[in-house]
Symmetry: C2
């Protein structure tokens, strides 16, 4: 049976199951969410009003046995950036959507009866709506428990916590992972959009798995074998990430002078040793945790982990470099256990751990918090959950806090916080932060690979030469990869191994019986980016928004004493195709 579009209208709690339009057939993940938002949403609409839409879409290869293909995309107009947003996630939702034949779930409108929140349950045949006043004010783990009592343990669950109900710009949409923990559609405040639609939780039926139809399964298997091997053979995805998780980057960036510290005042942190991937791995091992762990079934990289507390009890997982950087180096909290505790709390209340961490670091400049005070930072996250005035301030994200406190050193692009990689000292990454339509987002054009990790060659991170082209090519190929359901970490192998991308393309061709080429892939990426950029321009984000914060132009960054020195014309050329 062919895939369908599931279209929900919250206004009158109705739904339609529609045929997939011809022109959406070859799209998935980000390609599909961005296309639907581009075609159907008025760019001038209020992100939290009735005319915004949420679009969930699994990648083109999600639901197949392709290695690392379990990412699900969520698109909407972002209440944080005011532009188009796509945020993808691991967990189980992509595979369940795909196996159920849901090409996309589009959610429109706002309930006429907005007196409470709703639970949506999606099956192959229908969408059920239920008022859930008993879940209002509950956080993610409690909501999950309730759903797991009601449904089979394999059910997909997407939920928001109290900050999402309160429509805070840092609220995320949390997604159940294979072990019943959470992964997040983290960035851009998409949890606030779900809150505005009065949806507390969405479940998707995993009972009646259908096998995803693969047109040429022999060809598919052969390509997947090449593809999977290439991931395991690569030193980053095959060795460093499984050994230390993404947190391996702390020491690497610190050595490169590109670890933003004390709100982007230095590229080195005195805390690196306390928060590094090496320290984390040792800690995990000493407490019988797990250093390798996948965020979705089919992941062979296993960069996640299970981090236990001192007593050996589960504390958190999906404990990422960017979160640890934000709380450890940027906000100055040395205690990795405290950071893990905050990570777990943020998972439970459903807020973006990157935006929250960046906001807390800037809150130090605002006088709200002492640098390094983990206890107070933890309390502030609780204040977010309680919706107190100071909680609302933190919950507004970095850019809004900067405005309220009249700060100039506010690390945001398009009002979204800049994570973990110093743009002045990792210039290719800075170009991506500035120019991506998504607002500062490290995954959209991960030039760290070539600037720092020497993947795909080497371009000196401190020099301008080659960075514009590097970022451009990465942004184009990432727009494609984000449409396949693949984890971004397949990019290392794509960059270094000439067999990886053809194998990825072969899997798509084998699944859909089509004949994509490498050139098609680049055109695909460009097409998606063009739609995103046009949406943004119509939403009010012109080229003046493709800039890094001004202070980076006049404040040299130790230890290399580099400034941000790209001209406007150079930046405007990056995605001008």
């Amino acid at each position: 049976m062919a895939d369908k579009i599931y279209r929900v209208n919250m206004k009158d709690l109705s739904y339609k199951i529609e045929e997939v339009p011809e022109e959406w057939m070859g799209l998935g993940g980000r390609g599909l969410t961005s296309t639907i938002i581009y075609e159907e949403v008025d760019p001038e609409c209020h992100p939290l009003g009735p005319n915004n839409k949420m679009v969930f879409a699994p990648g083109l290869l999600s639901g197949t046995p392709a290695a690392n293909s379990g990412r699900n995309s969520l698109g909407a107009k972002s209440p944080l950036t005011g532009g188009i947003k796509e945020s993808n996630v691991g967990g189980t939702s992509a595979q369940i959507f795909a196996k159920l034949g849901v090409k996309a779930l589009i959610i429109e409108g706002i309930p006429e009866d907005d007196s409470t929140f709703y639970h949506l349950h999606v099956t192959r045949e229908k969408v059920e709506f239920e008022k859930v006043p008993e879940l209002v004010g509950k956080n993610n783990f409690e909501v999950l428990d309730t759903m797991l009592e009601k449904y089979d343990k394999k059910v997909a669950v997407m939920t928001i916590g109290r900050p999402g109900e309160m429509r805070m710009p840092i609220a995320n949409v949390s997604v159940k992972d294979p072990e019943g923990k959470f992964r997040s559609h983290g960035r851009g405040g998409l949890g606030a959009v779900m809150g505005s639609k009065k949806i507390k939780v969405i479940t998707v039926d995993a009972e009646k798995y259908k096998e995803t139809i693969i047109a040429d399964s022999e060809k598919f298997k052969a390509a997947n074998k090449v593809f999977a091997k290439s991931l395991l053979d690569h030193p980053v995805s095959g060795q460093a990430l499984p050994a230390f998780g993404t947190d391996v980057l702390v020491n690497i960036l610190n050595e490169a002078g590109g670890l933003p510290s004390r709100n982007f005042r230095s590229g080195n942190s005195e805390n690196a040793e306390y928060i590094s991937g090496e320290t984390m791995a040792e800690t995990i091992k000493s407490r019988n945790g797990k250093t390798t762990h996948g965020c979705h079934a089919g992941c062979i990289i296993q960069c996640s982990q299970v981090y236990n507390d001192k007593e050996g009890n589960y504390l958190t997982s999906g404990f990422e470099y960017e979160t640890i950087w934000a709380l450890g180096a940027h906000t100055g909290i040395k205690d990795l256990d405290m950071i893990a505790k905050m990570d777990a709390l943020m998972d439970d209340i459903g807020i973006d751990s990157i935006e929250t961490g960046i906001t807390l670091g800037v809150a130090v400049d605002a006088g709200i918090l002492e640098y390094g005070d983990g206890e107070r930072a933890y309390e502030l996250i609780k204040e977010v959950n309680n919706g107190t005035p100071i909680g609302r301030i933190i919950g507004g994200g970095t850019g809004n806090l900067g405005k309220l406190y009249g700060l100039t050193r506010v690390p945001v692009v398009k009002n979204q916080g800049i994570p973990a990689y110093e743009p002045r000292a990792v210039k290719g990454q800075g170009v991506s932060y500035a120019t991506t339509p998504m607002g500062a987002d490290h995954t959209t054009g991960y030039a760290v690979a070539t600037n720092i990790l020497r993947v795909g060659g080497y371009i000196d991170p401190l020099k301008k030469d080659g960075q514009l082209e590097l970022s451009r090519n990465l942004q184009i190929s990432t727009a494609f990869i984000d449409s396949t359901g693949m984890c971004i970490f397949v990019a290392f192998s794509v960059l270094d191994n000439p067999d990886t991308m053809p194998a990825l393309v072969d899997m798509i061709n084998a699944r859909f019986d089509i004949n994509l080429t490498g050139e098609d892939v680049m055109e695909f990426g460009k097409t998606i980016l063009k739609r995103e950029i046009e949406f943004n321009r119509k939403a009010g984000l012109n080229s003046a928004h493709d800039r890094l914060p001004e202070f980076m132009k006049y404040e040299p960054l130790p230890p290399h004493n580099v400034v941000w020195d790209f001209t406007n014309e150079e930046l405007d050329s990056v995605l001008d195709f």
Copy 2:
């Protein structure tokens, strides 16, 4: 002696007194501030960073005996709107600057030693800098007292309160009036810019008045006579405004269904009778206040007043319709004495009473405040002054509060609050709010005149016909009037009396020995608007920002049940010249 440009650099506390460049000779007020900002300020700079500038400039006729010519302009990139800003004020500064021969005072940079705030004293010969740690944390009246002890009572004083020191987006720059009270450069958060430059107070020497040179004093006198008579002959500027102040508009707008009430949920307020100009005039008379009062020497309209408390003691003055509307109809506070008390407090702490009032009304929707609770509203203003978290939230202004609380009914354009006139029911005014480069600002193209007051003809406020042209012409002529030093209320006579504009132009011609024509005036206005619009576009405000809040498009406004129904193309045509 010719006028000079006084250019201060706060970075090293230096100054230069420069000749006026040829191309600035014919400019004053807004025309000059906007031109200098346009020519000298990087539109992408952070408004609170070292690359923004503040420009004070008296109007072309300020300092002359021309009636109502005492308005001073302040320009900068606005921390509230992110675009160019001009805010003009009565008080004594325009005339003192003009008589001293200061064509413009430009303030650049941020002090290297930013450990405290500075006092700048401007004389004909020099600019003096003094650290004033003893004034830090003080509010306007205390600062004024200190200055009046030090200088002649006529000295011009421009100061910021604690919210300005704290760089809040609602902070204003307060200016001494002839009686030692305050008038405000209210809108756009320019007090935060002054705070960012670490300037607590600016004084301008009024000791050595020089007579402003008027090239042809006979011609000037004759023109001024015609001009002044036309103001007094007009029923609005000659009768309604002196009798009831600007607050005369409460009943007029309420009857028209255009008085925004309960955060723009109706065009009628149940509170109108308590807060009307008629009620105010009676109250003032019964307490031996003054119903007529000028905000600057030479004002013959006298729309200000002295409002006493129940005991007959001075409470406030410059008590304007927009403030009373914001607190009375929008926030629901019936008690005019309480509103007056809040007005006085806002004068003292130096915050924009319009933005603050609009923010408080929206704070009702956020659950921060009960509708009509004046005591709590008063406390919230004190919280602003104390910089507490809730104070910072209110101090961030309407748009920022709306973001933190996830609201969709947020009455702002370009992030600045929409005052006092319902755009859906006074459509010409709505066009001005949407399209002016200044953000929602009632003075930039006061279509209320023709829509409601039947000045300059009549255009039905509820219909679209003729509104685009009306707003365009008003915006062009206002850009000129704002450059002359004239109060905006000369516009009523300009619209109705064919002698008024020629008389105004004749005074300029007589002063400078030039030959401006009526056509030149329109070209002048267009030129200034074009510069402002180009600055804004480069600063990131494209046509998507020339829009009213989306809810006005789908939410019909009682009692006329009208929606906002201009197309984007129509709005984009208004200033497309």
